[in-house]
């Protein structure tokens, strides 16, 4: 049941993209998502699509994983695209019924939105498939460092993030165990009305919450026994290192931006 969870599904292939600094990957994939919205022509989308394809191929991850990323979102994509097509006005009108109309601009807008969704999902999947969750947490901590100046508890947030990530598999295991235990006692999770199914979740949730409290209590005691006194004044075992290839990746993104701006100006 939990094998479908794409979050944190890291596929190690040791490609060039895998070896990039997680900070670079995080920032660049966010940046890419932002510049996708600057594209306003088919040529621009073709260029961005080509770039994304090159990135995807260079991860050496099987294409099936990307399809797994798109699959659960396919209905949202189709729904948005169809709404966009039906309600946009302007240009040649092909079909018209009540408030619905299919127009030339509507079709174009729908196409653009489809491209945007596709590119965003692909790029974010590249990030999650090539970076272990742990390193993403490290990158978030490192990128948030400047916020210490405005009294954001960055170390604490980073610790919470890393403990949360570390307990995801443990808690999933436990959920499965509780579910099986409740099934053995006659709780049925898969049939009945929606109301009945919601009610049958309670015998999973309550034991899970209680055990999470107990875990938190024991973990806190163990941390204190090992000398944890808050985030301040700790040294770090794991350190991210910025290499030449990370700068190179940033330069590639600068080139992409320049080309995109060029395409936007001359088309």
């Amino acid at each position: 049941m939990f094998s479908k969870v794409l979050f944190g599904r890291y596929v190690p292939t040791n490609s060039f993209i895998h070896r990039l600094d997680p900070r670079a990957k995080l920032v660049l994939s966010f940046y890419f998502i932002v510049i996708i919205f600057f594209a306003n022509s088919w040529l621009a989308y073709a260029f961005l699509g080509l770039f994304t394809l090159v990135v995807i191929l260079s991860t050496k991850v099987k294409l099936g994983f990307f399809w797994d990323g798109i699959k659960p979102l396919i209905w949202i994509i189709l729904f948005t695209v169809i709404l966009q097509m039906l309600f946009s006005n302007g240009g040649h009108i092909y079909w018209h019924w009540g408030i619905f109309s299919i127009t030339q601009f509507g079709l174009i807008n729908g196409g653009y939105i489809f491209c945007r969704f596709l590119l965003i999902i692909c790029m974010s999947t590249v990030l999650t498939l090539t970076t272990p969750p742990l390193l993403i947490a490290d990158a978030v901590e490192s990128l948030m460092k400047p916020l210490i100046k405005i009294k954001v508890p960055v170390y604490e947030i980073a610790l919470m993030l890393s403990i949360a990530l570390r307990f995801v598999p443990t808690l999933l295991d436990e959920t499965q165990k509780i579910m099986n235990a409740q099934r053995a006692r006659g709780v049925d999770f898969s049939t009945g009305s929606i109301w009945k199914r919601i009610k049958s979740v309670i015998p999973i949730l309550i034991p899970l919450f209680i055990s999470a409290f107990n875990r938190a209590d024991e973990l806190a005691t163990a941390m204190e026994a090992r000398g944890y006194r808050g985030g301040e004044g700790r040294s770090k075992f794991r350190i991210l290192q910025w290499h030449g290839k990370d700068t190179a990746a940033c330069l590639v993104m600068v080139v992409v931006t320049i080309v995109l701006v060029g395409v936007r100006l001359y088309s």
Partner: protein, 278 residues
Amino acid sequence: MTAIISAKSVSYHYPDEKGDALHDLSFDVKQGDWVAVVGHNGSGKSTLAKAIDGLLDFNDGEIFIDGRLIQEDNIWDIRRKIGFVFQNPDNQFVGATVADDVAFGLENRHVPRTEMITKVNEALTMVGMSEFADREPATLSGGQKQRVALAGVVAMRPEILILDEATSMLDPEGRETILTLLKQLRQQYHLTVLAITHDIDEAAMADHILLIDDGRLVDQGTPAEILTQGDRLLELGLDVPFGEKVKRALQDELQVPKEYMNSNRMVDWLWQKLNLTK
């Protein structure tokens, strides 16, 4: 030999419960000794362990670690001397990977990174987990997680090691490896070990046993003194060691010596007996 842990009439009362969890406990632990604290479930053993590490604000009495009274202002200094391994291998694993977990305590002490890397590697080699350094806790067995917990403690070079039922959630094999490992570590670092357990065979390995019942220290002595009191152990909700069980079973037929015998000595004695009767 000086007393490294010294408790003087310690009492503790959990806010929501009737009766004392610890009642007027006094004892000394000698430097370098392996002391087993034995008692049934809920007899106050874990509370005692937490009190010694200053994780619990006991109501009455005093605890001295290496001659220093535990107080609020020196608690972090005192904790540096004490390594603590808890019962549940999952709930004390802080790090996202094995190496991170071993490094956690060192990070808290602001150990420089280069030093930390050598210490983490050393500690992992010592417990035989060095090839697992990058593994995540979800992929390890219970025994392996406890070995990592031990490595995390050993990396900090404590003088005292407290084990709060550290083997109780493991299978016999995992327990065996942890206990063998403990013996090695103890020899190597001259650790004082305070092992809390309700496993009587584990207690038999100790130099000294503290018998606890309902928060009171009911008896203390060497394993030979404590473990021969078969009926009393059963009364206190504990088990009798295997050698003693054999002895009790044979008592009606044979004249078995009164003194404590572990399994090996029991075997030796039986061999002798058989050879004599032949």
